[in-house]
């Protein structure tokens, strides 16, 4: 059962995801999808809150996007965006946060940034791409190999974010606030 | 009356309050003390947000340990930072929050919310997002959100610390006009000079207790 504190933490991390979307995105040029810090929020929700609360936080965020709040980078939102070609990436965030958290609860319970980086990559990049790329294929009919190839362009940016998430989560762990099983 | 009997409290192995016994019955009570003196912990003990490690705290005979919910209905609590007290997106919804938690009937909630909107001059903000209000207005809303619950006691934990002079004045006027028993934790010595009683806390012990005219100078002396 979720305690009052759990409810508050889920809501605050969902709001953090929204706040990260307000930061000006970094345009990559060739695709109309700018790189945003929002997947950083997905990774942090997983590593800091754990599987359950992390995935609830990401779900709250996705629900509010669906409800019509312009929370995605560039002020986008609404069901249309979620149904569009890149919608699968956003819809995968709750799963990504869950997997990041699940792995973190087992393999990255200390302040070790390398382990935190590894779980962030697996949950925050691999899982999110695993959801987003088939969606590209489904919605846009883009063959899987092309979809994978096209998405590779975003991997360097996402790896940097995983690095930032790992170091930040490690810092929070060292500060001794909120151990993952709290 | 709020009564503490041999209350001791610690966070981990860091002691914050030592064997405190107090009867708080006056209408206007101030708790003074420096950072880390234990005054915020003392305030949180009074409405059961924290239960003491040892000893008992009772409010009108109700033990905060066993009757937490009944105690919180009687004792309202206003925190320092309004931003973390306003929980709903708009002013009207936020005022209704505590009333809904108490499961009051709908028409009673509507009546009390309407009353509070008028009494605290929040009517024009009714449907506005709280984040668009100024710091002073936010604190006013936070206080209104507690007063709408009609508690018998109201505890304020440094309510003016984050406010500018004009808003500080507003909050003090509101606070002094309340019919309830008011207990204020503060650094604001100017605010408490007309109070009935002022306690000075240092390292978890009461070092002065009496009318502000006596205890405030004692507090200033200790600071120096």
């Amino acid at each position: 059962m979720l305690s009052t504190r759990d409810l508050v933490l889920c809501a605050l991390f969902a709001a953090l995801l929204g706040g990260l979307g307000m930061a000006p995105p970094i345009p990559l040029g060739f695709l109309p999808v700018p790189v945003t810090a929002q997947t950083l929020g997905v990774m942090l929700a997983g590593t800091i809150l754990g599987a359950k609360r992390g995935s609830i936080a990401a779900s709250l965020f996705v629900l509010l996007v669906a409800a019509g709040l312009p929370l995605l980078a560039g002020g986008r939102g609404g069901i249309g965006v979620l149904m569009g070609p890149t919608g699968g990436f956003v819809l995968s965030w709750p799963v990504g946060a869950f997997v990041t958290g699940w792995l973190a609860e087992r393999f990255a319970t200390t302040a070790n940034p390398i382990r935190l980086f590894a779980v962030s990559v697996l949950g925050g990049i691999l899982v999110v791409y695993a959801g987003g790329i088939p969606w590209l294929w489904l919605v846009a009919g883009l063959p899987i190999d092309k979809a994978v190839f096209g998405s590779l362009a975003f991997v360097p940016g996402d790896l940097i974010k995983a690095g930032i998430a790992a170091v930040a989560a490690s810092g929070v762990r060292r500060a001794g606030i909120l151990p993952i099983h709290a | 009356m709020i009564e503490l009997r041999s209350v001791t409290h610690a966070y981990g192995d860091r002691p914050v309050l030592h064997d405190l016994s107090l009867r708080l019955a006056e209408r206007r009570i101030a708790i003074l003390g420096g950072n880390g003196s234990g005054k915020s912990t003392l305030a949180r003990l009074l409405n059961g947000l924290i239960v003491p490690a040892a000893g008992t705290v009772t409010v009108d005979g109700l033990d905060t340990r066993s009757d937490g919910r009944a105690v919180r209905q009687r004792v309202g609590f206003v925190f320092q930072n309004p931003d973390t007290q306003i929980v709903y997106p708009t002013v009207e919804e936020d005022l209704a929050f505590g009333l809904k938690a108490r499961k009051l009937p709908k028409d009673e909630i509507a009546r009390r919310v309407a009353g509070a909107l008028e009494r605290y001059n929040l009517d024009r903000y009714r449907h506005q997002p709280a984040h668009q209000m100024s710091g002073g207005e936010k604190q006013l809303l936070a206080i209104a959100g507690v007063l709408v619950l009609e508690p018998a006691y109201v505890i304020f934990d440094e309510p003016t610390t984050l406010l500018d002079l004009r808003n500080r004045r507003k909050v003090i006027d509101l606070l002094c006009g309340l019919p309830q028993t008011v207990i204020v934790v503060t650094h604001d010595l100017d605010m408490v000079k007309d109070f009935d009683r002022a306690l000075v806390l240092e390292d978890g012990r009461i070092v002065a207790d009496g009318p502000p005219a006596e205890t405030v100078p004692a507090y200033i002396e200790r600071l120096g």
Binding site: T4, L16, P32, G141 | F79, Q85
Partner: protein
């Protein structure tokens, strides 16, 4: 938060959120089931009809559609080029999804955020048997909406600190104070909720319908 909602006096705006979402679902299934361009044509016509009925400015709606349609066109063009496929097929495929995205966008533009959130809460009520607590979901959604602007400011502060210090400094270190702040805020907020009588144990027994949805 106003959201993407665009207010007009129209039948479409007055339709309940559930009807609009249900309709969208139905049309989506139909379009995906119908072969070739017919589904796209039907959905496009429905979209155009809704657009007119909702009295929305076509320009604003099409602006919402530009990014996804452009991307779809690029992807399909790329594909057609590689596979040497016919342009007709590509056009039909783009049209199908463009039409669906148009309809979805219309639902978003004509439905208030809070009406949509209320609808979600009703749907959560149905999920009660699998352990979903609609009252808690409602509180979390409200808290999230309340705190998005605040955290947006905090993130902006981090970005500014980043710029002020120069990018060569450790960016991650700047996120630590932000996270610590969020966790401290969580403590304060929890205390404030409990001080106002919120008790998670009995939150579930409260019917979520007692919530009065304020109009925004």
């Amino acid at each position: 938060m106003l959201g993407l909602y665009l207010h007009r006096e129209s039948v479409v705006h007055r339709l309940p959120a559930g009807a609009k979402l249900g309709g969208l679902l139905l049309v989506t299934v139909l379009v995906l089931a119908l072969p070739g361009g017919w589904g796209a044509l039907a959905a496009g016509l429905i979209g155009a009809a809704v657009l007119v009925a909702a009295r929305l400015p076509a320009r604003r709606v099409l602006a919402e559609l530009r990014a996804p349609v452009l991307m779809l066109a690029l992807l399909f063009g790329f594909q057609a080029l590689l596979a040497g496929g016919g342009w007709e097929e590509t056009a039909v495929a783009v049209a199908r999804f463009a039409a669906l995205i148009l309809l979805a966008t219309l639902v978003t533009l004509t439905t208030r955020v809070m009406d949509m959130v209320d609808l979600f809460e009703q749907l959560f009520g149905r999920l009660r048997p699998v352990g979903v607590n609609p009252a808690k979901m409602a509180l979390m959604l409200a808290l999230t909406i309340r705190f998005i602007p605040l955290l947006g400011e905090q993130v902006r502060e981090v970005r500014m600190a980043q710029r002020a210090r120069g990018v060569e400094r450790n960016i991650a270190a700047l996120f630590v104070p932000l996270l610590v702040k969020i966790l401290t805020m969580a403590d304060d907020l929890t205390a404030a909720l409990e001080a106002r009588g919120y008790d998670p144990v009995d939150a579930g027994t409260n019917d979520s319908k007692t919530k009065n949805s304020t109009q925004r």
